[in-house]
Amino acid sequence: MSLAQTQSVAEIKARNKELIDEVLKVYPEKTAKRRAKHLNVHEAGKSDCGVKSNLKSIPGVMTIRGCAYAGSKGVVWGPIKDMIHISHGPVGCGQYSWAARRNYYIGTTGIDTFVTMQFTSDFQEKDIVFGGDKKLAKIMDEIQELFPLNNGITVQSECPIGLIGDDIEAVSKAKSKEYDGKTIVPVRCEGFRGVSQSLGHHIANDSIRDWVFDKIAPDAPPKFEPTPYDVAIIGDYNIGGDAWSSRILLEEMGLRVIAQWSGDGSLAELEATPKAKLNVLHCYRSMNYISRHMEEKYGIPWCEYNFFGPSKIAESLRKIASFFDDKIKEGAERVIAKYQPLMGAVIAKYRPRLEGKTVMLFVGGLRPRHVIGAYEDLGMEVVGTGYEFGHNDDYQRTAQHYVKDGTLIYDDVTGYEFEKFVEKVQPDLVGSGIKEKYVFQKMGVPFRQMHSWDYSGPYHGYDGFAIFARDMDMAINSPIWKKAMAPWKAAPRPTLIAAE
């Protein structure tokens, strides 16, 4: 029984405000002033969550954020399976992001697909001093020789590239010409650019625009006969197979998915996307840029959707169907009806075990809002949420469609704040990332990794919701949490203690 259930909204709001004041006391004055703008208690009816976002993280506070390289190589480009992505610079970045995001794909790795491989220029001191362009050119030659079935190359810049003045565009152009117009994409996603992963997404989106779309010959014959029902899945990274359990629903309702971005995606799918009749956008944060571009340049409408939990899935299927004729609208209803028994059975089984449990989230991309509906489908309540790298438009969507009155909101939360908030709010579950997982486990709080699905998944779609429900039950109702307190140290539940 968490505190949230025993208090009125007014009490919760007062407590959350106090909490915010309390955590701010730890900071030097200048920092407290800056952090205060990122913490708030949500007021129902407001158009956003009342926090500033997408601003620089403060030095020394233990931000959870990553960098532009992580946004480009780690998120947007990395999953494109038939291209080789060079981590261009020193060895570390590529090493730490090697196969860590579970972007599932089908292919013969090392021969025609390359997602779970680490290609790097492994910069040495001489490369810093003399520049790495010659080395990059040679790397491309070696790739062509050893991996002849690759369908393209991207250059994912690490910090030094922009600092030493390398011209990766010139190298890419020259090599593309040499290899008969091969797609070679230079990406300026150096880690020091911007304030988080977010700029990396944007830079990667722009590079697809400039180096993939703009290179497509306008008179090139289509690789397939278009249909009025062609759609592209944008912003699903196929973590644990998410895009697959989403794609199947779109196809079942009568649509034809001509591309997946970028989980299990291929260069051919990227190139085909301007032929779509509608782009359906799951991760708004990381791929709204290219969706907007396609709308402007090719007149393709786009529609945000949410495939977490039956309520949002049904809502999204109908919303997507509204762009098409009755055949598809009927298809959407048919799909919703088809899965109704499964959803009923999943909720009947798990909801009684999860009813009234509270959750605090801190994740990236779309998840700080998108998963709220799935928790609510299970009778759970999200009492705190925040974005690692959200922008104001994310907080607007959160306020208008997702969070309840009194929800604690924390943007770019610091390690200290998050621990303190959890210690005081005492949620039944925390959903965040690998860096947070063990911190809360030590405190005796059930935890699920909501970036990698804790190596489970998929969570998207109807099939995914069954897994989501199972996993949340597994986390919260594991008998292990009852063991956290030694019996000779009597306490019914361990007091959550954050590190001071």
């Binding site: 060895v91 970045c93 040679k138 050893l146 020091f192 099939d463 069954a466 203690i497 590190a499």
Partner: protein, 519 residues
Amino acid sequence: MTQNADHVLDHFELFRGPEYQQMLANKKKMFENPRDPAEVERVREWAKTPEYREKNFAREALTVNPAKACQPLGAVFAAVGFEGTIPFVHGSQGCVAYYRSHLSRHFKEPSSCVSSSMTEDAAVFGGLNNMIDGLANTHSMYKPKMIAVSTTCMAEVIGDDLNAFIKTAKEKGSVPAEYDVPFAHTPAFVGSHVTGYDNALKGILDHFWDGKAGTAPKLERQPNEKINIIGGFDGYTVGNTREIKRILKLMGIEHTIIADNSDVFDTPTDGEFRMYDGGTTLEEAANAIHAKATISMQHYSTEKTLPFIADHGQETVSFHHPVGVSATDEFIMALSRISGKEIPEELARERGRLVDAMADSSAHIHGKKFAIYGDPDLCLGLAAFLLELGAEPTHVLATNGSKAWAEEVQKVFDSSPFGANCHVYPGKDLWHMRSLLFTEPVDFLIGNTYGKYLERDTGTPLIRIGFPIFDRHHHHRYPVWGYQGGMNVLVWILDKIFDEIDKNTIVPAKTDYSFDIIR
């Protein structure tokens, strides 16, 4: 429909259902512009050939699947080995997210570390303000006893001067003037995580021993009877450090473990998160100057630190990640010689038990061929152990191995008739190893989690020993050093060997005549 509430299927089984299989086949055929399967097969086979190996080994610029990480990771690993210490990495912030994730994935533990979060403006004007604000914030929030500073490649490329920056930050009141902020430049484009460990450790000792960056008198060494132990960058630090302490206690040797991160990477779940736990106290770090000698368990983790210590008048001895009987003998005898303490009978019995265990199992290992990759010292330790078992460490590869390391490995080969057909590969990566496994097959592969791709592609069974291990749990809690550690390594190797034997004899009425219950 495949999914059902009574028996929820996740990614392991869900996508094998017919609807998904059909969907994926359609996707490929219609939209992926796939290669001709015959062509894929042809290239797959070609990539196994000696011809491909030759091209692969002719690579000069491209690195594929390296077995090394960058310096700051090692710096962070060393820094958290000191009491109440938080590592502070000066540079871009994404790096710190990566180090923390990487260490957490291996140890299944929290990993605390902060960044100075430098961005474009710092790239132009330098990161002094980030240092000033960052140290102040870290000091206020996390109340560390010490902040150990290292750098990312961004700060190195623009040439930020840590010594000057920290001095200025102190003048501005970020932290008290006498507060300990040791530092090390740890450029990611030099060496590897092992180098970073070395640089950071030397930086910390230099700080305490040589006048705290000009703010205190240098320490005068007053020799005592203690022995310092440095573990080096070690994925088994939790199990190993405790095993070393047990041995030292058995022998009655007064000691200091320098950079002891065995507790911080193994905290209990009891309702409290301990950001700091255990570690070498700052007083111990300073007093380590007075020790009689310093022993490094991993030579290549202390290439700069040991000479620095030797310059202060101590005897220094280094080992190569000792695994097995003789390597442990040498370590124990060095302890005995330096301390003047006798080797207790208990250790002799432990040794005898390891020899006994190896004798029990030697028939299953003798003559088997192994490929090993990993950090330089780990490779040396494991190669020597395999030779003790009558196995052949056929391919020994370290991406961060130097020419000098290769010569050391060759010496190990030369010390045994079982080393006659073995080869060492410094500076090579796991794509090179792939060619080796295809063209000169071995029975088993020893390496970290990334070896599973080699296991999949070449069919060489993988025994997971090294760093990082992400896809198996809790191995880091077991020692691999000492006679007891040798026992663990032996069991890990044997378990895989027996699993493979069973796998090869499990087909009823075909191969199961050899499906013995006694091995």
